[in-house]
Symmetry: C2
Subunit: 427 residues, 2 copies
């Protein structure tokens, strides 16, 4: 954990350098991923079965690679009642939030008489990658599949590495409207979704988090299909005054730190004594967490405490462009409205980031590693696309033709010019 004081000389440069530190060791996986994708494209199902045997130590066939409806029902039924209810509660809130994002079609006639506009429509088919083992989270399924279903995507294909399927994950898939589940993980799953393999038909876009192999594969298939943002280790900034309970703020910092040794938690406060109490609470809580080792590594290597006047926090937040920022202060909007770069903001002393991970309704798939400078969280927009249209009659066309001809000729494109001129009797 690093300490910074806004008033210290050299603060800006030192803090900027800290923010710029890389938090992930880039793995050299690209050559492997290239070969895996080529194998799936060339051999289809056979390659998937071979990789399952080699990597996952599981023997599958054309039938068993798909999770059957009976397995989904049985798994979901094994989910404890309180978790089942929480999943239904979360799914409904996520659905209602994302429904509000539906953009309107437009059609208008401009002053030249040209009819213009665009209309939105859903993607046909989406693939959702869900990591396996302990990182198989029901919330991942909900946050990726519910917006796709709300957008009207007809086919939602989930892929997850072979292995025991968590009941909560199956319950979430059922609640979210997933239409098929396949036992395939890694780069081979991405390739199967992008190009099709055996019984897995290709999709139009692939979303969902994964390891370095999955991320490298998504980068490679981009273009053949759409992909979501490339997820990095997550981060949180907590802006808190001294009136907070230090235990609450410590828990918030640790709720990021426990995700990943490369996660980053930063406290910005104007109260040095309060900061010391939060630091002590972090240490005390780490000792009690089953995820304590991960949280401790993250906090030690990437954590920070910044002592600064709180009115300076918005530009500091912009420098970090964090995935999440909490404003645990009396008047959070005054600070929040000055922030330009953040994925999601949590306002007030009773808005811990974890509510956004599960049930607030907003999406927890958010830009990491400063990507909030240029991108947004997952939304209904990710599952819709826009088709523009232009309609002319002879009169409105006549208003556009001369400039079209002038520009086409300036660009040295005579067929472009002719397609306009010929309709003016000048072809």
């Amino acid at each position: 954990m690093r300490r910074f004081r806004f008033e210290d000389p050299g603060f800006q440069a030192a803090f900027a350098a800290f923010v710029d530190e890389r938090r992930e060791t880039p793995e050299e996986v690209d050559a492997i991923v290239r070969d895996v994708i080529a194998a799936v494209r060339g051999e289809g199902l056979e390659a998937l079965l071979r990789f399952a045997r080699e990597f996952d130590k599981v023997e599958l066939n054309e039938q068993s690679i798909r999770v059957s409806p009976e397995e989904i029902e049985a798994g979901a039924a094994a989910c404890p009642a309180d978790v089942h209810e929480a999943i239904a509660f979360a799914a409904e809130r996520i659905r209602r939030y994302h429904e509000r994002q539906r953009p309107a079609d437009q059609r208008f006639t401009d002053d030249a008489g040209v009819e213009l506009g665009w209309r939105w429509g859903p993607l046909d088919a989406v693939g959702i990658y869900v990591p396996g083992g302990r990182a198989a989270y029901p919330s991942t399924v909900l946050m990726n599949a519910v917006p796709a279903a709300a957008a009207g995507v007809g086919r939602i294909a989930m892929v997850t590495p072979p292995g025991k399927l968590q009941p909560a994950v199956l319950a979430a898939a059922k609640a979210a409207g997933v239409t098929e589940i396949w036992r395939v993980g890694g780069a081979q799953a991405v390739a199967a979704l992008a190009y099709g393999a055996g019984p897995i038909r290709p999709v139009d876009k692939i979303v969902g988090p994964g390891n370095a192999f999955v991320t490298a594969a998504k980068r490679r298939v981009y273009g053949a299909v759409g992909i979501d943002a490339l997820a990095g280790p997550s981060e949180i900034v907590v802006v808190a005054d001294g009136a907070n309970n230090p235990d609450w703020i410590a828990a918030d910092l640790l709720s990021q730190a426990e995700h990943d040794p490369a996660a980053q938690s930063i406290l910005i406060t104007d109260d040095e004594a309060f900061a010391a109490k939060v630091e002590a609470a972090v240490e005390a809580q780490i000792a009690t967490l089953s995820t304590g080792e991960t949280a401790e590594t993250s906090w030690r290597n990437h954590g920070a405490v910044v002592i600064a006047p709180l009115e300076q926090s918005p530009p500091l937040v912009d420098l970090i462009a964090p995935e999440h920022v909490e404003f645990a202060v009396a008047a959070p909007e005054e600070l929040a409205e000055r922030v330009r770069h953040a994925g999601a903001m949590f306002l007030g002393r009773h808005a811990p980031e974890a509510i956004g991970d599960y049930v607030a309704g907003s999406n927890h798939v958010l830009p990491t590693s400063r990507a909030a400078r240029f991108s947004s969280g997952l939304s209904l927009y990710d599952f819709l696309k826009r088709t523009s249209f232009v309609k002319c009659d002879p009169a409105s066309f006549a208003a556009l033709a001369p400039a079209t001809v002038a520009l086409a000729e300036a660009e040295g494109l005579p067929a472009h010019a002719r397609s306009a001129a010929i309709r003016m009797g000048q072809g």
Copy 2:
């Protein structure tokens, strides 16, 4: 040029195979691009000057790598008056169209008393790649820079390979609100925009078309910055009945074909005699075009004529998911409304695609190579990003806390659970 008849046995499979044909020879440029990016990251300006010397045979320095305001003024002043006027006309129409895309912020209180919403804001800085030489098009500058400026992007940095700058390109840059122009092209330009180099400060997103090196570089820097879609060779489908003038339709088909030997033009008509007339007109017009060689190659290798009932055209268009489709029929909406996958639609006999390239107002940066299945044309959205927010008071938090705890515990994330439970007095 291939001919297909909807009524022929095997039509669906044969046409699907035609649509799936690759139209580009993938170039193995990735290793070169990796090294170029590493050089720019490691050496900054020195690498840019060396590449200019080696690749572009131009000697530049820290000053001359930037196009001065005086050069921009002088170049723009050298642009012919009719082109200047056409640029101003186009810029204003593009600006007005894209202004209509501005999404509204949202803030609402749900039935649990939770305040939720999101707000949109512009990116800080955008880089626009403009190819050099004869492919330096003023319309490229307008279509990429005008929406960025309309979105409120403060810094719009254009890069273009060293060489003579076309007056029309400089006039377009001035009209579109480009704030700086740099003489650097290729993968090194993409690297300079992504990571900064000498006087070129990094941007947040890179847009604009380029060759295989530029595209490979954009794929590599994605994540550090945003990028637009990866452009492939363009395509047009013209759906036309026999009442059209065959010369007009031939000109429209050629307006795509002249772009690129890999471009694709497809005519769908229900009138075989009309198709023959269009084919003859295509041959006759090719002979008169300065771009005839390119157009001829494109039409020979990738062109097609499909004889089909026009009511079958929407599913055929969806199979192609083309960048552009024209409906040159009496009632174009009846067909257009059944299309699901297309970048842009042109409705009526007086709406040649070329008006969309320049002055209709809609964007000409559109999904190619079937990417209309999952993506949209460039828009104001590409230069905006969304920050979500959640605000709770103790009562509304209490409505969310139990489900948060249940899901966090099910996912094995105890610090997440604690951050909610502790605020309920259960930590």
